[in-house]
Symmetry: C2
Subunit: 407 residues, 2 copies
C-alpha cells in the first residue's frame, strides 16, 4: 500500500485548522479543530491507564452513544489530566465552545488534550481561541498540516499521511495525523491519532477495522514503556466517497481494513522514529512463534528493554540482551531453537543459530547498527505465528529531556 | 534490626576467599569460593527468565536434591549464559574442580557466574585458579570481603553485611554478600546474593524463610526493568550456633525470618543504590492498598518508570508521572483517593490530596529531591495493605555504560 502525502483533509468533506491561542508559552500552535461537513460514523479507542485525563473520560462517554459526530477539538501544551472535577468541566466547555462556533450540537464534538499533567487548562485562552481557529477552517492540505502541527508537544516533526484504495468502484481516501514523543507505550489505544475517511462504512465494521488494526500498529510501539493518561485514537468516516456502505465482512471490508492498517502502521512508526531523544528506529520481527500473542509479547519485550535500547544507541550488537529480554517477556518459546540476525541498509549480520551464538564480523555489525533504521529478525521453531514491534534507542537526550521537562 | 559490619564469614564455621585468576582483563578479582566447615542446609531461588545461564541450570539441579551442601564457587566477568552444551559442561567442571580442591563431593558445590553473556568461560584460567583460591580460604573478615569483591562486575562498591539475633538462648549470626548493577529486575530470585548462617534450621523452614523474604526484598528492587539470565540467591545454614533446630513455625522461626529479611533488604537496597549510573536511591512506599499484591505492583511500577526515574535524576517533582505509572501498573486503585508526598533529608513536600494536586513550594521540592535518598509516600483509600519498592534514577551515565558495555 503506497503511503501518500497529505493528512486529515485528504478525504472529501473534511476541513481543518490549527493555531497558537496562548496555551503554549513558546508561541507554537496549540489548538486544532477538525470538522466533517457531513455527520461521520466514529470509532475510537482510549488509554487503558486507570488514571484517565478529563477529555478521555468525556470523549469516551460521547463515543459510547454510538451516534454520528461532526468534529474534533484538540489542544496541546496541557493534558488536562489529574485536574479533578474542574478538569472535566473544562473538557466539556471546550467541546461546547467548539460546537457553538460550528453551529452543531455539543455531543457531536470529540475532545482531546496532550501536554503537561496536573495543571488546569488556561480556559480564557482556550475559549477565546476556539472561534479564531474555527474561522480558519479549510479543506486544503495546508490547513490539514496546520492542524497536525497544533497537536504536537515535544514532537520534532509533524506526523501525517494518507492512503487511497478502490472500494465498490469508488476511490476511497483515508488521511491521518498523530502525535507522540514521550510516555509512549500504548495499550489498547494510543497517544493522539486521528484518521478521517470519506468511506461509507457502518459503525460496527469501522470499530472492528480499528480494533484489529490498533493491536498490530499503535499497540506494538514503545518509546519508554510508560502508558499515557491521554491516549486516544479516533476514526471519522463521512461516506462522501459514495461507495456502497461496508456493512459486513468481505472484499470491501478487507480493502478498507488494509488501507486503515497501512496508515496506522505508518503513523505509529513515525511516532517511534520521533521518540524523545531517539536517533534510531528499531523494528523487531518475530516469526515461528507458537501463537500470535507470544510473537507480540516477545517482539515488544525486546523493543522495551532499556539494555537493548542503550545497546542500539551504542551500535553494540549485544544479542545476549535481546535473548534475555525475550526470556523475561512471559511468553513461552524454545531458547534452543532461536535464530537471530540484525539487518539494515548497512548490511546483515547473523548472530544466533539453534540458540547458540555465531562468530560475527564486528566491523560489519557496526555498519549494520550505525544506520537510522535497524531490523532485528528473530526466527523461532515453535510454530508459525509472527508479529512486528517498533521501538527506538535510549539516549542521553532522552534523559536530558525527561530530567528537565517540567522544571 | 541492626545491620552489622561483616559478611559471609561472620557466622561460625564459614571460610571464604576471592582472587584474580585471569577471567577479567582489568586485573580485578574474578573468582570467589565460600565453604562451610560442616554440611549446610541449603535453600535457593533462581531467575524466572526462560533463558537460564548454564550455572543456574546446574545449581537448580543440585538444590533440587535437597541434600546438605558444603561450598559455593562464583566467577565474575563472564555469565556463562547462552553458551550451549559447552556452557553446561563448563559449569559442571567448575564445580568438580572446586570439590576436588576441597576434598568434598562435586554435588556439594553450588556454581554461579555473572558478567558478559554468550562468551565461553576461559576454562584454563578457571581451572588453574580454583586451587589457588581454595588455598587462600580463611574465616576472617578480610577473606569475606575478598570473596564479596570477587563477585562484582560493574558494581562500584562491595555489598556485604551481617545481622545477629538470639534464638533459643544462642546468638545466631547471618552474613551476606551480593552483586548487582545492570539487568536488575528480579523476579522470584535475583542477581547474585549469598547468605551464610550458623543457625540450626530445617530445610523446609529455611526455604520458607527465604521465599517469604525474597518477595519483599530482592523482588521489590529494579535498576532497569531487565530480568537477568543468572539471578541466584542462596542461603547456607550450618547449625554451628547450637540453637535448638528450627523445625516449625513459632517465635524462633519468626526471629530467624526477621533477621534474614533485614539482611536481604539491606543487600537489595545496596544493589539499587549502586545501580548502573545511579546517583539516587528511590524508595516507594504504598499503603492503604486493597491487597498486598496491588501494593507491590503499584510501588514497583513507579520504581521502574523511565519517566519517573529521569525526573528523579533531574530533581523534578513530577508527581503526574508517578500517578501515571500507578495507573498503568495493572493494579486496581481509586485515583480520587490518592495522597502523595516526597520526603528526604531535605524535607517533605506534599503533592496530592484526594487525588488532586496541591500547590507546593518548588524550592522545597528541589531540596527534597536533591538528596541521595528520596522516599515517595503514597497513601490510598482502598484498604490496609502496604508494600515498599526500591529503584534508582535514570542517568546519562546509565546510557553511557550500556551503550558501550560490550564494544
Amino acid at each position: 500500500m503506497d503511503i501518500l502525502e497529505g493528512g486529515v483533509t485528504g478525504p472529501m468533506g473534511f476541513r481543518a485548522a490549527g493555531e497558537h491561542v496562548g496555551i503554549k508559552k513558546n508561541g507554537q500552535k496549540d489548538l486544532a479543530v477538525l470538522v466533517s461537513d457531513e455527520p461521520a460514523t466514529v470509532a475510537a479507542m482510549f488509554t487503558t491507564n486507570r488514571v484517565k485525563a478529563a477529555p478521555v473520560v468525556w470523549s469516551q462517554r460521547l463515543v459510547a452513544r454510538r451516534a454520528p459526530m461532526r468534529a474534533v477539538v484538540v489542544n496541546s501544551g496541557n493534558a488536562n489530566a489529574c485536574t479533578g472535577d474542574r478538569g472535566l468541566e473544562d473538557a466539556i466547555r471546550m467541546g461546547e465552545a467548539t460546537a457553538r462556533a460550528l453551529g452543531i450540537a455539543p455531543d457531536e464534538v470529540l475532545v482531546a488534550s496532550t501536554g503537561v499533567i496536573g495543571v488546569p487548562l488556561p480556559m480564557e485562552e482556550v475559549l477565546r481561541g476556539i472561534p479564531v481557529v474555527v474561522g480558519r477552517l479549510a479543506p486544503t492540505r495546508e490547513a490539514g498540516t496546520a492542524c497536525a502541527q497544533a497537536i504536537r508537544t515535544t514532537d520534532t516533526f509533524t506526523k501525517q499521511a494518507a492512503v487511497q484504495v478502490e472500494i465498490g468502484g469508488r476511490v476511497v481516501t483515508l488521511g491521518g495525523m498523530a502525535k507522540g514523543s514521550g510516555m509512549i507505550h500504548p495499550n489498547m489505544a494510543t497517544m493522539l491519532a486521528f484518521v478521517t475517511t470519506d468511506a461509507a462504512i457502518s459503525r460496527e465494521m469501522l470499530e472492528r477495522a480499528l480494533r484489529e488494526s490498533v493491536v498490530d500498529s499503535y499497540n506494538m510501539i514503545s518509546v519508554d514503556g510508560d502508558t499515557s493518561t491521554n491516549d486516544t485514537v479516533a476514526v471519522l468516516a463521512n461516506g462522501l466517497a459514495g461507495n456502497p456502505e461496508i456493512g459486513a465482512d468481505g472484499p470491501d471490508f478487507a480493502a478498507f481494513r488494509e488501507a486503515l492498517h497501512a496508515l496506522n502502521t505508518h503513523l505509529a512508526k513515525c511516532i517511534v522514529r520521533d521518540g524523545e531523544g531517539a536517533t534510531k528506529l528499531m523494528e523487531v520481527h518475530v516469526q515461528g512463534a507458537q501463537d500470535v500473542e507470544a510473537a507480540r509479547r516477545l517482539a515488544r519485550s525486546v523493543t522495551t528493554s532499556n539494555l537493548v535500547k542503550a545497546a542500539l544507541f551504542g551500535a553494540d550488537a549485544n544479542w545476549g540482551r535481546v535473548l534475555a529480554a525475550m526470556g523475561y517477556s512471559g511468553a513461552s518459546f524454545n531458547p534452543a531453537g532461536v535464530r537471530m540476525r540484525f539487518t539494515s541498509a548497512g548490511g546483515t549480520v547473523s548472530l544466533m543459530e539453534d540458540g547458540e551464538p555465531l562468530p560475527f564480523d564486528e566491523d560489519l555489525a557496526l555498519r549494520v547498527l550505525g544506520e537510522k533504521e535497524v531490523r532485528v529478525e528473530i526466527e523461532l521453531s515453535d510454530g508459525d505465528a509472527a508479529a512486528t514491534a517498533w521501538g527506538c534507542d535510549l539516549t542521553y537526550e532522552y534523559v536530558r529531556i525527561n530530567g528537565e521537562y517540567r522544571s
